[in-house]
């Protein structure tokens, strides 16, 4: 099989300002990848480009063999914020929506996930706390049998119990051949989860390394590696 994700010479400009430039990234199937970078570094933009939500880029984006927008949307499961639903929508109604439009939505997996994440399907979206809402979004995203999962900052601003549950659910329900990209700007708690890390800095990808290789080569943790990249202690040439 081909790569799970192959991005070549991607450049994206908005209002004539370069957001991402010269991005090249290849990820092999089955990997859990941490996408790290400061707020505003372009993590979300990169994910939105992959998911065909952001347009007008130059370069190519291939998810598996799919390069066309609609084909990528079939292959990718993106943790969207559910803004399209009214606040009074019940979680079960959102599930029905997902089950209706996504052919790869597994009702069984959904049931397992919401049980494990202790979610009450009968509540309304507006009644959820930030952590519960994030758990629900994860449950929906993982319930699809997609080839590439994009989790956009699933851990920002939620309590540590929810975070642990989400991490466990990822380990439990990610199929071995499925690939997952998780963006975050704080990495310590998810470090053991990551096969590889990709660091975005100065509008491009400045590092892409296996996390155990980082520990072995530099004798430092993933968090320390990421920080030293931003502080300039490790130069791009050292990689």
């Amino acid at each position: 099989m081909s790569n799970a994700l192959a991005i070549t010479n991607l450049t994206y400009r908005k209002n004539y300002q370069t957001i991402l430039t010269d991005v090249n990234l290849t990820i092999t199937p089955g990997k859990v990848v941490g996408l790290l970078g400061e707020n505003g570094a372009g993590k979300t933009t990169l994910m939105r480009l992959i998911a065909d939500l952001a347009k007008g880029y130059r370069g190519t984006i291939a998810v598996g063999d799919a390069t066309a927008g609609v084909q990528r949307r079939i292959a990718v499961s993106f943790s969207e914020a559910l803004q399209g639903f009214r606040p009074t929508t019940k979680l079960s109604a959102v599930r029905d929506f997902y089950a209706r439009v996504y052919g790869d939505f597994s009702a069984k997996k959904y049931l397992d996930l919401i049980t494990f994440l202790q979610l009450d399907d009968d509540l309304e979206l507006a009644k959820l706390s930030k952590g519960t809402r994030e758990k629900f979004i994860i449950a929906l995203t993982l319930s699809r049998e997609a080839t590439l999962y994009l989790l956009d900052e699933p851990f920002s601003g939620i309590d540590s119990m929810s975070r642990k549950r989400i991490i466990s659910s990822i380990i439990k329900w990610k199929r071995p051949e499925a690939t997952m990209i998780i963006s975050d700007h704080y990495v310590t708690e998810i470090a053991p989860l990551l096969d590889e890390v990709v660091v975005i800095k100065d509008r491009t990808i400045c590092a892409h390394k296996s996390s155990d290789a980082i520990r072995q080569e530099f004798g430092i943790g993933v968090e320390a590696f990421y920080e030293s990249l931003y502080e300039g202690a490790i130069q791009h040439d050292d990689l």
Partner: protein
């Protein structure tokens, strides 16, 4: 289990399993928990556990049986060798660290004896 983020995770998983085998929590011939189960228990990536286990299979500490999972070797000498290897590793670490404090070999042995004696006293 808490991991040290500075040391490769697969390495720490191997160590964790070594200890369990030597301590007898995983006896010769016992089935090692499934990869996914281990990953969930340790909150680490499945691929990392997979890597640790396959290295242990290569080392012949674990025996992989097709379709049935991984088992602790029944070769007791293999486990004894593993134990010895671990002991040597720890002693090596200890020795190098203390040696760096400009202690003579005799003094090192003496310090160790004293420590063991006080520990035993404290236990009683």
């Amino acid at each position: 289990m808490q991991f040290d983020d500075k040391v490769p995770i697969y390495y720490q998983i191997k160590n964790y399993l070594y200890h369990r085998i030597i301590a007898g929590q995983l006896a010769p011939g016992d089935k090692v928990p499934a990869v996914r189960q281990l990953a969930v228990d340790l909150t680490v990536n499945v691929n990392t556990v997979q890597r640790a286990l396959s290295e242990m299979v290569t080392e012949q500490v674990l025996i992989s049986k097709r379709g049935r999972g991984n088992f602790v070797t029944e070769d007791v000498t293999q486990i004894a060798a593993l134990k010895h290897h671990l002991i040597v590793t720890y002693v090596q670490q200890f020795y190098h660290q203390v040696h760096g404090l400009e202690l003579s070999d005799d003094e090192i042995v003496q310090e160790l004896r004293t420590y063991i004696a006080t520990q035993k006293g404290a236990d009683k």
